[in-house]
C-alpha cells in the first residue's frame, strides 16, 4: 500500500537541509508520495527508511515472469477487482497440459506452441506448455521435458510434479530457461523451495484452502523463494470463483502479502465445452495462468478472444486510423463503403470485403474508436459526420459514381445523409459485416 506524504515525512531526517533540491523535508516527502522524485536524492536516508519505502512501493500482486527469451510471459501486478475501475493489465497466460506417458507429447506440444490466430489485425497465440509427471518416474519426466523443450524451444514451460526428484531431473535439462515449477505442497515444500531457489525459477504453491496457501507462501518466502504463483486446488467452477475472488480481494484490499501472487487455475474437463466454460470463469475472474487439457483449435480461439476482450483497457478501445482505405485494388467504378474506426468494426468489414473478391473503397470515420451502433447512440456517427468524412477524404475525385453505402445499423440516417451530401445516392448496406459479400454481389451489382 502506497504511503502518504506525511507517513514518508516521519521516516525522513526532518532537518530541512535542502540538499535534495526541495526547501523542506515535508515538500520532498509530498513529492515522493506523488512519485515525482526519487528517494536517492536524500543523502541522509537510512536503510530502514529505504526498506520501508521499498516495501510500500511493492505492487500488491507480485509480477512473476515465466520462461526466458522473447516468448517469456509476465503475470501479476493487477490493481483492481473490476476492469471498469481501471483495467486488467497482464493478460491471462493460456497453457496446454501434456503428460510424460504420452508417446506423442512432443508433437502435440509443438502443435499447441506453434498455434497462432489473427484477430483485429493482431497475431495471437498460447503462452506455454505444462508437462505433467503422470508416469511418476523422474527419468521419464526429464526425458519428456527434454523432448518438449527440443520440439518447441521458445515456449515457456511449466514442470508439474509433486516429486522433488522428478523436478530436480527436469531442472537439470531446462533449469536455465526459467520454467515454472508446479508445485510446492505442505508435504514437499522444503525440497521444492531448495530446488526453486537453486535454479532461480518461479514456484507454484498448491493447496485446497486459503489458509494453507498463505501458510505455504510465507514459509517459501522465508526460505528465499520470492517468485510464487498460487494454485488453489478448486474442484469446480464454484470453488474457482470463490477462491480466486477472495485471494484477489485479500491481496488488493487487505494488502495481505502472503497471497499477493498471480493465480493459476486448471480448467481441464472431460468435455471440451465444459472446459471452455471453466476457463471463461477463470479468465473473467482473476486467473493469471489457465491450464487447458484439450488441444483443440475450437477451444483455443474463443478463449484467446475472451482474454483479449476482458483485458482490453476500457478507456482505450482498440482503434484504427480514420482515413480512406483501399481493399484490394479499387478503381473509379468500385463501391464506396463507410464505417467507424473501432478496430473490430474495421477488421470485420475489411475482412468480408476482401473475402468477397470485389475491390472496394472503405472510408473510416473518426468515431472515437467506437462501433457503428455505439457511436451512433453517442451522437458521434451521424449524417453530419458522415458527410464531413466523405468531403474531407477527397474520395469524390477517385470515383466515377456518387454512391455511398452506409451501415445497416444506421439505415435511419440515409435521408439526412442525402441532404448533407447533395448529388449522392445513399445506399443502405447490411447490419452485419458477414452479410457484405452477398450484398455486394446482389444489391450493389443490381444498382
Amino acid at each position: 500500500m502506497a504511503l502518504s506524504g506525511l507517513q514518508i515525512y516521519k521516516l525522513l531526517p526532518q532537518t530541512n537541509c535542502k540538499e535534495c533540491g526541495f526547501p523542506t523535508c515535508l515538500a520532498f516527502a509530498m513529492k515522493l508520495a506523488q512519485k515525482g522524485t526519487e528517494l536517492a536524492k536524500c543523502p541522509y536516508v537510512t536503510d530502514e527508511t529505504r526498506a520501508a519505502l521499498d516495501a510500500a512501493a511493492a505492487p500488491p500482486i507480485r509480477l512473476v515472469t515465466v520462461g526466458s527469451g522473447e516468448r517469456a510471459f509476465a503475470v501479476g501486478n493487477e490493481t483492481v477487482m473490476f476492469r471498469h475501475e481501471k483495467t486488467f493489465v497482464h493478460e491471462t497466460a493460456l497453457v496446454v497440459r501434456v503428460r510424460d506417458d504420452d508417446p506423442d507429447l512432443a508433437e502435440r506440444a509443438a502443435w499447441a506452441a506453434g498455434y497462432t490466430v489473427e484477430r483485429v489485425g493482431m497475431t495471437l497465440r498460447l503462452n506455454g506448455v505444462l508437462v505433467e509427471n503422470r508416469s511418476g518416474d523422474a527419468t521419464t519426466f526429464a526425458r519428456a521435458v527434454e523432448a518438449v523443450h527440443t520440439a518447441c524451444k521458445e515456449s515457456p514451460l511449466i514442470l508439474a510434479s509433486e516429486d522433488p526428484a522428478a523436478i530436480e531431473a527436469a531442472l537439470a535439462v531446462v533449469g536455465a530457461e526459467r520454467p515454472l515449477i508446479h508445485a510446492a505442497t505442505l508435504a514437499n515444500w522444503q525440497a521444492m523451495a531448495a530446488l526453486a531457489a537453486g535454479a532461480g525459477c518461479p514456484l507454484a504453491v498448491r493447496a485446497g484452502s486459503l489458509s494453507d496457501l498463505a501458510e505455504l507462501s510465507t514459509r517459501l518466502t522465508a526460505a528465499g523463494v520470492e517468485d510464487l504463483v498460487l494454485a488453489p486446488a478448486g474442484e469446480d467452477l464454484g470453488d474457482d470463483l470463490a477462491l480466486s475472488t477472495l485471494l484477489r480481494r485479500l491481496a488488493l484490499k487487505k494488502n495481505e502479502r502472503a497471497v499477493g501472487y498471480p493465480l493459476m487455475v486448471f480448467a481441464g474437463r472431460d468435455d471440451v465445452v465444459d472446459e471452455a466454460a471453466r476457463a471463461a470463469v477463470a479468465i473473467a475472474k482473476y486467473a493469471s495462468i489457465v491450464v487447458l487439457d484439450h488441444l483443440d483449435a475450437a477451444l483455443f480461439y474463443p478463449l484467446i478472444t475472451l482474454r483479449q476482450n476482458i483485458y482490453t483497457d476500457p478507456q482505450k478501445p482498440i482503434q484504427v486510423e480514420p482515413r480512406l482505405y483501399q481493399v484490394g485494388a479499387p478503381d473509379a467504378a468500385s463501391p464506396l463503403l463507410i464505417t467507424t474506426n473501432f478496430s473490430l468494426t474495421y477488421f470485420s468489414v475489411s475482412g468480408e470485403v476482401e473475402a468477397s473478391g470485389r475491390p472496394c473503397w472503405l472510408l473510416v470515420a473518426d468515431a472515437d474508436g467506437q462501433s457503428v451502433l455505439t457511436s451512433w447512440a453517442a451522437g458521434k456517427f451521424d449524417a453530419v459526420k458522415i458527410a464531413k468524412t466523405v468531403k474531407e477524404s477527397g474520395v469524390e475525385q477517385q470515383l466515377s459514381h456518387h454512391r455511398l453505402v452506409i451501415p445497416g445499423h444506421v439505415a435511419s440516417l440515409s435521408g439526412e445523409c442525402e441532404e448533407e451530401l447533395p448529388g449522392w445516392e445513399i445506399m443502405v448496406g447490411p447490419r452485419d459485416a458477414v452479410d457484405l459479400p452477398n450484398y455486394l454481389k446482389t444489391v450493389w451489382s443490381a444498382a
Partner: protein
C-alpha cells in the same frame, strides 16, 4: 496460518421479478422468479442468491431459414411449428420460452395482430413454463402485435419485449392493463438503463415487473462493454441505487449465432477449429462470462449450449462457506 476473510456486506438488493402466473387468468403450470441477490454473482459466502440464473430457449414463429445449419439440425422439423418447438425446448431444459414473432416482420410474412396472438396462444397451450414474447423489432409493428398479444393473454404475466425509449409508453401501458412484465432494452449504457427504468416506473408499472436488457455483445463482438456495464449496474444495485436493481436478461443465443465465428463452416482459417464445436463454445462462453457480471436470465439457441450452461450454473451455485474455504490442514 489464520486468514481473515474479507467479507463484503451490501445495503441494497436486486428486486425479485416473477414471470408466468398460475391463477387469475394465468394458465402456467410453473412460474419462474429471478433476482433477489444481496451479493455479487454466486458469492453466497457473503450474501444471498435466492434464485438460480434461468435458461430460456428461443422459439421462432416463422421457420428461421437464415439460422446456421447446426442450429436448424438440432431443432429438426419441430422448428417449423412454434408449439412443437416450444415443447422440444422445454424437454431440452428451457425454464422459460422466448417466442420471437418473426413472421410479423414486413420482410418475412408481414403477419398482423391476429397471427401474432394465434402463435402466442399456441405456445402458451403447448407448454406450462412462462413465456417472453418479442415483436419483430420494427417499431410500429412491435406496438401493434405486442399490444394485441398482451390483451389476448391477460393475466399470463408474459414478458413483453422489447420496451425501448421510443415505444415504452405503449408497451408499459399494455403490461399495466394486462398483468405482464416488460423487458426494457437500452444500448450498453448504465445511465440509459437507469433512465428507462425511471420512465417505466413513472408510468406506474411496479419495478417488480421490469427486466433490464443491457444489450448483449457476443464474445469477440463487444462482450467486454456489456460485461462492464452489467458489473457497474449490479454494483450500483447492491450499493442501494433503486433504479438499477432490476434482474438482467441477456440475449446470448441471438448475438452469438449472428457472428461469423458461429455461422461460417467453410472459408475460415483452420485455426478456428471445428465449426459446430466452436459455435457451441462461442455461445456457452458468452453466457458463462455474462453470468459472472450479473445475468439473471440467458436466452440461448442451441440445446447443447443450454446443457453446458446449466452444468456451469449448477457448479457456480455450490460456492462453499467461508469455513470450507479457509479450513487449514497445515500444522504450525
Amino acid at each position: 496460518m489464520a486468514i481473515e476473510i474479507p467479507v463484503e456486506k451490501w445495503s441494497g438488493a436486486v428486486r425479485e421479478v416473477t414471470l408466468g402466473a398460475t391463477t387469475d387468468g394465468g394458465t402456467r403450470t410453473t412460474t419462474v422468479t429471478i433476482g433477489g441477490e444481496t451479493t455479487l454473482p454466486f458469492l453466497q459466502f457473503e450474501g444471498a442468491m435466492p434464485h438460480r440464473p434461468v435458461i430460456a430457449a428461443e422459439v421462432v414463429d416463422a421457420y428461421p431459414n437464415e439460422w446456421p445449419a447446426p442450429l436448424l439440425a438440432a431443432w429438426g422439423d419441430e422448428a417449423r411449428d412454434p408449439a412443437a418447438w416450444a415443447r422440444k425446448a422445454v424437454a431440452a431444459g428451457a425454464e422459460v420460452v422466448v417466442l420471437k414473432l418473426r413472421s410479423c416482420h414486413p420482410d418475412v410474412h408481414d403477419h398482423g395482430a391476429a397471427e401474432a396472438v394465434a402463435a402466442t396462444k399456441a405456445v402458451l397451450g403447448a407448454v406450462g413454463v412462462p413465456v417472453i414474447v418479442y415483436g419483430p423489432g420494427v417499431p410500429d409493428k412491435d406496438n401493434e402485435v405486442l399490444v394485441a398479444v398482451a390483451e389476448a393473454s391477460k393475466g399470463e404475466r408474459l414478458g413483453l419485449a422489447n420496451c425501448l425509449d421510443k415505444n415504452y409508453r405503449t408497451i408499459v401501458a399494455a403490461a399495466l392493463g394486462n398483468g405482464h412484465v416488460v423487458v426494457g432494452q437500452t444500448p450498453i449504457d448504465v445511465n440509459l438503463a437507469k433512465q428507462l427504468n425511471i420512465l417505466i416506473s413513472d408510468m406506474g408499472l411496479p419495478l417488480d415487473r421490469v427486466l433490464v436488457d443491457p444489450t448483449t455483445g457476443a464474445l469477440g463482438y463487444g462482450i467486454e462493454y456489456t460485461y462492464s456495464v452489467m458489473e457497474r449496474l449490479r454494483l450500483a444495485a447492491l450499493m442501494g441505487d433503486t433504479m438499477t436493481q432490476q434482474p438482467m436478461i441477456c440475449t446470448v443465443g441471438e448475438e452469438s449465432w449472428r457472428q461469423k465465428e458461429s455461422r461460417a463452416a467453410e472459408g475460415v482459417p483452420a485455426q478456428w477449429g471445428d465449426s459446430e464445436t466452436r459455435a457451441v463454445i462461442w455461445e456457452t462462453t458468452t453466457a458463462v462470462t455474462l453470468l459472472q457480471s450479473g445475468a439473471d436470465l440467458v436466452v440461448l439457441r442451441h440445446p447443447a449450449a443450454m446443457a453446458h450452461v446449466r452444468l456451469a450454473i449448477d457448479e457456480l451455485m455450490t460456492v462453499g462457506t467461508v469455513e470450507a474455504l479457509t479450513a487449514s490442514s497445515a500444522t504450525a
